[in-house]
């Protein structure tokens, strides 16, 4: 049965028992009320009769005074008393016949006595015998009156006592009945409570107890209650299945908790050991959390870091108006500097937006790149040295050819100078003769004899040839000097085509006996670059092409603009490079040349220089047909290179020079 049914049953039984209790008590109370009313009327009658008795005392005493004192003026008073007694007796309302009979007797006696008393008033002279006989008559009547009155009083008193006892009995019965009913009701309530406790509360207590056990113990707890109302059984069943689900979920949760703990430990370990600083920032850039690496980086304790604005440590994250620059924060692997107060300011940071509990936060990683910066500087220096060494090596390789290229003009300049030296003597002698006025003829003869016309015609070509030779030497030396010269640290505005020409000058001796140079230089544009380095690239390209050609061949050189880039192409018809080697040709120390013939750094340096210029190089080759190297350099101005204005001015100065 359901608890609701039990409740209905309880409600109905309570209602019925309540009605029975009420009806019983009400009925008994009505009886008590009825008896109480009767008793009240009886008590009132007794009081009235007592009052009549008291009045009668006065009435009789007054008569005695009349009799003893013979004071007849008392007759009128006695009659008044008689009248009052009569009225009082008449006023009595009683249903008891016996009482009524007595009252009627009393009224009759009073009436008779009045006749006697009235007779006293008629006496003109007191006759003792008549007086005494009249008193005797009166005494006889009043004695009867007293007896009747006492009978009435006794009867009324008995009736009153009987009613009082009856009222007491009724009250007692009502009290006993009330107690009995209350006791029965309490027993009923106790039974109901006991029953509820056993069949409803106890099962719930069992469930509660089981539930409390289940919180402490891992073992399975029995919640099912068989001897209980339907709802409790259903509840216990539901709790049982719910608990089982909870147990399963708890095990899962425990496992997840252990996993979380493990993960937390891992994360903590990672946080503590990760070689970069991790900071959690709120949307105002205030630091919420940080790892030990951040403390090390900032040289501060965690307490000193937390709640500080990140801009204190990383000014770049603060905009000009002091606001938190989230756009800057969200950059990836951004190199920057810490505040000037930091001794090692080089850092690299990355930021990500992260939502924690619905609010936007930012995770900032800062990597200390001071060491890398130092390494980069060192590497850059080494690389520069390597480039220079390679350049010097190439200069060494080219030196014989260059010397040969210089010797040629030097040779014909020397020859020209020898001829000119031979020419100077006849010319000076002729001038001397001419200066002497009388030896004009001799001079003329001398002129013709020494064929000064020829000499004079030959001098200018000789001088021009010599000057051309010196210009050629000067250019070679200048190109060599430019090549040998170490680049400044800032790029310069240069013409790619003229730089290619310079490279051809320097390697001319290498090429001219076996290679036919085909040039198509159409770039016709100046770019910001490091000229010596690009010159080294071009020389390397040309020398490598020359080396690829065993006997004779052709090297095509092309320059032009392709999609905002300068495209420089070196193409030879030499032996070519196998595909196997083609992928390694830019690796350092990779060479196919015999030991001692090549350093293996040439193409590696070429690519590093091209990279340095933000360009790229592509190589393709077919064995037996030749190779093609294409260099792409971006065309950008000084502003695009983010150069300081002063440097641009310096470049302009250089250009003007």
């Amino acid at each position: 049965m359901k608890i609701s049914n039990y409740n209905q049953l309880l409600a109905v039984s309570t209602l019925v028992s309540g009605m029975i209790i009420f009806a019983t008590l009400w009925s008994q109370n009505q009886k008590v009320e009825s008896i109480s009313r009767e008793h009240f009327e009886s008590r009132l009658l007794a009081q009235t009769v007592n009052h009549i008795s008291t009045m009668s005392q006065a009435w009789l005493t007054t008569q005695d005074l009349l009799f003893s004192g013979k004071q007849t003026y008392l007759v009128n008073g006695i009659n008044i008393q008689s009248k009052q007694l009569t009225q009082t007796l008449i006023a009595i309302k009683t249903t008891d016949k016996s009482n009524n009979k007595l009252i009627q007797q009393l009224l009759a006696i009073i009436k008779s006595n009045k006749t006697i008393i009235d007779s006293f008033a008629q006496l003109t002279r007191i006759d003792d015998k008549v007086w005494q006989s009249t008193i005797t008559k009166s005494d006889s009547l009043t004695a009867k009156y007293v007896m009747t009155l006492e009978t009435l009083l006794q009867q009324v008193s008995v009736d009153n006592s009987a009613l009082e006892n009856k009222l007491i009995d009724a009250n007692s019965f009502l009290a006993i009945l009330t107690w009995v009913i209350i006791s029965l009701y309490l027993i009923f309530i106790s039974f109901i409570v006991t029953w509820f406790s056993k069949y409803i509360v106890k099962p719930i207590e069992n469930i509660t107890e089981a539930a409390q056990q289940s919180s402490d113990l891992e073992q399975n707890v029995e919640f099912m209650q068989e001897d209980a109302p339907a709802e409790v059984i259903a509840l216990s069943s539901a709790i049982e299945s719910f608990t089982q689900r909870i147990t399963v979920e708890k095990h899962k949760a425990d496992q997840e908790r252990r996993n979380v703990i493990t993960k937390n430990k891992q994360i903590k370990a990672i946080m503590n050991t990760i070689p970069c600083s991790l900071l959690l920032l709120n949307d105002h850039g205030v630091i919420q959390e940080c790892n030990p690496e951040a403390c090390r980086l900032f040289s501060k304790t965690k307490e000193e870091i937390i709640s500080q604005n990140i801009a204190i440590f990383l000014p770049v994250l603060s905009m000009l108006d002091g606001q938190f620059d989230t756009k800057m924060l969200l950059r990836n692997m951004e190199e920057s500097l810490l505040a000037p107060s930091f001794e090692n300011p080089y850092i690299e940071f990355s930021g990500r937006e992260i939502a924690i509990n619905g609010s936007i936060n930012y995770l900032l990683t800062i990597t200390d790149i001071n060491e890398r910066k130092h390494s980069q500087k060192a590497l850059s220096s080494l690389n520069q040295q390597l480039v220079n060494a390679e350049k010097l090596a190439s200069i060494g390789q080219l030196s014989a050819g260059i010397a040969h290229e210089i010797n040629n003009p030097v040779g014909f300049i020397h020859s020209n100078l020898d001829v000119l030296a031979d020419y100077i003597t006849p010319l000076t002698d002729y001038i001397k003769l001419v200066k002497i006025a009388d030896q004009q003829e001799q001079a003329k003869a001398f002129y013709q004899k020494n064929d000064l016309d020829y000499i004079l015609d030959d001098i200018n070509p000789l001088i021009e040839s010599s000057l051309e030779g010196t210009i050629r030497i000067s250019k070679i030396i200048k190109d060599l000097g430019n090549y040998a010269h170490v680049d400044s640290k800032t790029p310069e505005l240069i013409s790619i085509d003229s730089l290619i020409e310079q490279s051809l000058t320097l390697v001319a001796n290498e090429l001219k006996y076996k290679v036919k140079i085909v040039k198509s230089l159409n770039a016709n544009v100046s770019v910001m670059a490091f000229p010596q380095k690009l010159l080294q690239v071009f020389i390397n390209m040309l020398v490598n092409a020359s080396h690829a050609i065993e006997n004779t061949g052709r090297i095509s050189i092309y320059s032009g603009i392709v999609k905002d880039e300068i495209n420089i192409r070196f193409e030879d018809d030499g032996s070519g490079i196998s595909q196997e080697h083609l992928k390694n040709i830019f690796d350092p120390f990779f060479t196919t040349k015999p030991v001692g013939k090549g350093t293996g750094l040439g193409l590696h340096i070429v690519r590093s220089i091209i990279d340095e210029h933000d360009g790229h190089i592509e190589a393709s080759s077919i064995v037996g047909q030749g190779s093609k190297f294409e260099i792409f350099l971006p065309i950008h101005s000084a502003a695009e290179l983010n150069l300081p204005e002063v440097i641009t001015i310096a470049d302009d100065n250089l250009i003007s020079k």
Binding site: Q57, L60, D64, S68, Q132, I135, A143, V146, M147
Partner: protein, 199 residues
Amino acid sequence: MKVIIFFMLSMLLLPSVYADAYCSLRDPVSQIKQLYPQKTNQLSIVKAVDNHTRKQVQLALPRNDLHFSELGKHTLYVAMKNTKALGYVHVRSEQSKWGLVEIVWAIDKNLRIQNFACQRCRSPKKSVIGSGLFKSAFIGKNFQELKTLLNEDGLTANIALVDTANNAPELTSVVLRSALKTLLITDLLWGKELKTLNH
């Protein structure tokens, strides 16, 4: 000599005294005859109950004040057998709820109750007064002995006396108060004359 003169005077004054010092409603002569059948003659000693007597009664019997109508002249009868006094007769009217109750008290020469009779009473239980058991509770007792039968309220008879009256407590109390007043007033008012008479 003085006593003789006193008696003589009393006798001479008897008719008038008799008329004025009538202590009861009825003539007690017949009752005296019943109480003292052997008497040959009687003496009447009339004396006045005044305020002094009233105060003495108040002292001896608190709450038993004499009523105004009890003040004045009263007669004590001496039952005589020739010249010898047999005893005294004192008639008292005691107020009750039935009016006045007249009792004729026979007192011996030692001022003890010798006998008594009801002369006038309206109580339906007046027959109690004539019962032997009730009478025996009074007869032979003097004032002090009778006073022990009074409750502490000074008005009602104790239970021992009431038990002799067949459930008539009020009438018993009236009779007791009447007896006490009778003996006290007899002693107070006529004690001196009675001593003289007995000597």
